[in-house]
Each structure stands twice: as C-alpha cells, then as structure tokens.
C-alpha cells in the first residue's frame, strides 16, 4: 500500500516537472526542471526493475545532457541578465494539438484489451548480465553501428560549431 502511494507520488512528480519544463518562462529553470523530471523517471525505471537503465539515465541524461543544455544556455546568452527568456507563442493552438493527440493515445491505451492486467503481468526480471551478453553477442553489429553513429554525431557537432575563420 505504501509502495503504491509512493509510486503514485513519483508518477505525479514526473508529470508535474514535465509541465514545468514546458511552461516555465525562464529557460534556466526549464533546464533544471528537466533534470528533476529525468531523475524521477530514473526512479520509475528502478521501480520497473531496470536498475541498469536507471543508472544510464542518471549518468547520461542528468550528468551529460543537462550539463550540455546549461552550457548551451550560457554560450548563447552571455549577457549577465538573471532571467533567460523562454517565450511562448500561440499556446492555445499548441494545447489543442497536444490534447487531441493525448485523447487518441489514451483511447488507444485504455480500449485495448491486450493491455489489461488480466493479459499483462510483470514478468521475471532482466539482469544487467543478460543485457551485457545480448549487447556483445546477438546485437554486436547494432552496438558497433551505434558507436560509429556517435562518432559521426561528434564530428558533425564539431564541424557545425567550429568558427569559420581559418
């Protein structure tokens, strides 16, 4: 019972922080709210028996991406004003679009009988060892291709953000 309450609180936190990311008028605050969202999502992942992914989530997202975002904000807003503006345009139209999509998605989720608890129940847990074995055996090619992709992204980022003067 306490576990359920805790989960509900966690999920609510995720959603609240998400809303803050999307509507907060200060960009730096948005980034920080995103950090909280990602951290709380990591907790949900632990709940979903994926501790390894939760760790990755914290290291990569909260450690890497959020830092990168903050760097980006600082590099693009070098004047020392306290608030970095993050204006919103046509919120009503955006809201309508988002709600429409949400309605369709929710309908799909709740009207599909295969997703009901009667049909779906938690299965055995996946260990990190198994993930490692799959990554380096069955999915080795995808793993290697992914490393090439990351290299390409790195090179691309360097080329894009390099100063043009020789």
């Amino acid at each position: 019972m306490i576990g359920t309450l805790f989960l509900l609180a966690l999920l609510s936190l995720v959603l609240l922080c998400s809303v803050q990311v999307a509507r907060c008028p200060d960009l730096v605050h948005s980034v920080l709210w995103l950090a909280v969202t990602l951290l709380s999502t990591a907790c949900v992942l632990v709940w979903l028996a994926a501790p390894f992914l939760a760790g990755i989530q914290i290291v990569l997202y909260t450690g890497g991406v959020i830092t990168l975002m903050l760097f980006g904000v600082m590099l693009t807003h070098r004047d020392a004003t306290a608030v970095v503006p993050n204006p919103i345009q046509r919120p009503a139209v955006a809201l309508v679009a988002a709600v429409t999509l949400l309605a369709i998605l929710l309908a799909a989720i709740w009207r599909t009988p295969e997703l009901a608890p009667a049909a779906m129940s938690p299965q055995h847990e996946v260990t990190t060892l198994q993930i490692g074995q799959v990554l380096l055996a069955e999915q080795l090619l995808a793993f290697e291709v992914l490393s090439v992709l990351l290299l390409a992204a790195m090179v691309g980022a360097i080329v894009l953000s390099r100063r043009k003067d020789p």
């Binding site: 994926a50 997202y61 990351l150």
Partner: protein
Amino acid sequence: MIAGDLRVFLTVSAVMFCIGVYGILSRRNAIGVLLCLELMANAVNLNLVAFARFSTGTMGQVFTLFAIALTVAEVVVGMALVILLQRTHRDIRLDVAEEMRG
C-alpha cells in the same frame, strides 16, 4: 493493482509525450524546443521499459539502451546547431531562421 497495471505507466508516458508536443509547438527558443524534445524521448524510453517489464526477453531493455544513445547523439548535434544559429543570427529564436522559405 496500480503497480501491476501496464496502462498506468503507458498513460504517464503518453501524458509526458503530449506535454513535450505542447512544448515543442509553443516554444520559440531553440533550446526550449530541445528540452521538450528530451521530454518526448524520455516518455518513449519510459514506454519501452514499461513494455519490457511486462513481457519476457531482454530485448526491450537493450532497445531502450540504443534509444538513449541515439537521443544523446541527437542532443549533441542539436546543441551544435543552436550554437551555429546563435553565431549566424545573433539570436536563437527559431522564427529568425527562415532562409529556407520556398
């Protein structure tokens, strides 16, 4: 009951995704758009892990791992683009970049 119901997690994921969509549509700042993109990617990851929990096999989590790596790559390139935008237009509001008008 709640913890054993896949649909709860899917709903949270869908809501988070739609919040991301709303943010992308309404934000004018390029970094703001990137943040909301992250939100959507996060929702997708949550979705994948939830399905992985409720079915057998390791592929769900491995797939999520790949998705996370791809998202990181996307953020890196996106950030480089933002910095490029700043350098060429002295502004990172997306509506200043409309050279591709047909």
